[in-house]
């Protein structure tokens, strides 16, 4: 998976005490992210999953497979709520 990770551009959000509060204007749904998901929300925008795996593996000294599994799980949870998504790769 090498497309860029993006926030849903329709959402309004603010950081409150280090955690994200996100509003979906279309249905007024309010989402709150925990600390880990909030960090992901802040730093994953515009990066690929591969880039994040490398960074997490290096910074936290965890195996790439572990980092990838955790990030994929987080991304899937955010994707399910339509908060973030992986943009399709641009064709050459």
């Amino acid at each position: 998976m090498s497309g860029q990770i993006m926030r849903n551009p329709k959402l309004a959000w603010r950081e409150v005490d280090g955690e994200m509060v996100i509003i979906s204007p279309e249905d007024s749904q309010v989402h709150e992210l925990n600390e880990t998901a909030s960090l992901f929300w802040k730093h994953a925008e515009g990066k690929t999953l591969d880039e994040l795996v490398e960074r997490i593996a290096a910074e936290y000294e965890v195996a790439r497979e572990t980092a990838r599994a955790d990030l994929e799980e987080l991304l899937a949870a955010l994707g399910e709520k339509q908060l973030m998504f992986v943009a399709p790769e641009a064709k050459e």
């Binding site: 551009p9 309004a12 005490d17």
Partner: protein, 267 residues
């Protein structure tokens, strides 16, 4: 869209001759209601009599008798049953308003949009004044807003249903509104500095619990009257609410249906 200043506005329709506007002010927002229908004008004058305001530069609102047309559009529009609000930077049009209740509803929707850039909003809440400060008791339908209002001294209730909050003169103020629930009162057109917000929770004891910033935001958001799905408007609302929560204490109030709750608020 900036709706903060209304001076020098151009009326949204030209044919306003022989129609004297009903001048009112709600939440320090001057409004000029152009109502041609006598059957609607008379109840409107009665309904908003406490909010009469002599101003030349009220934000013009033109009530059109004709039915809404599908192509009617402005910078913001909202359809409510058969009535429609079309809002432009120069003024607003209300279409298909058949009775004062529809007029009231469209006015609330309009105010949410006009107040937003001015750090103001409408909230499902009762406002009670005590010792010169406003206490906002908020919650969804059935939370006890009218109960709290009914337990408060006569003349101390600014509204039992829809509170109007805005930042002005360096502090957060609660304004009286003509938007009432069970009390059916005319309202009081005055503003009072806000002491605190209390999310109502009926219980078997009186108790006050301080809310964290996030808890307060989570409590307030569903109680704010909001009718637009525009992202920037939601961002502005979030910014406004967080600014308010930083300055004004927010609590959860556990209360029984009696006036004992004032003891825990004062404590």
């Amino acid at each position: 869209m900036y709706l903060g200043k209304t001076a020098g506005v151009v009326h949204p329709v030209d044919a306003l001759d022989r129609c004297v506007p009903l001048q009112i002010s709600i939440g320090s927002v001057p409004l000029s209601l152009f109502i041609r229908e006598q059957a609607l004008l008379e109840p409107a004058i009665r309904r908003y009599r406490e909010f009469a305001h002599n101003s030349e530069d009220g934000f013009p609102i033109v009530l059109e008798k004709r039915e809404t047309r599908a192509e009617e559009s402005g910078e913001f529009s909202y359809l409510l049953d058969d009535a429609k609000l079309v809002l432009r930077s120069q003024g607003a049009e209300f279409h298909g308003v058949r009775h004062e209740y529809a007029l009231d509803s469209l006015l609330r929707i309009l105010l949410t949009m006009v107040l937003l850039p001015q750090r103001g909003f409408l909230l499902h809440g009762a406002t009670v004044v005590r010792d010169g400060r406003a206490y906002i008791f908020f919650g969804r339908s059935g939370a006890g807003k009218s109960t709290v209002a009914s337990l408060s001294p006569k003349g101390s209730v600014l509204t039992d249903e829809i509170s109007l909050i805005r930042y002005s003169n360096g502090c957060w103020q609660a304004h009286g509104t003509p938007f009432w629930g069970e009390f059916r009162a005319a309202g009081q057109n005055r503003l009072v500095p806000v002491a605190g917000f209390y999310l109502l929770k009926q219980a078997t004891e009186e108790r006050v619990e301080a809310l964290s910033v996030k808890q307060a935001l989570r409590a307030l958001l569903p109680c704010v009257l909001f009718f637009t799905s525009e992202k920037r408007a939601h961002e502005t609302l979030l910014r406004t609410l967080l600014g308010l929560i930083e300055e004004i204490p927010c609590h959860r109030l556990y209360f029984r249906r009696n006036a004992e709750f004032w003891k825990v608020i004062a404590a």
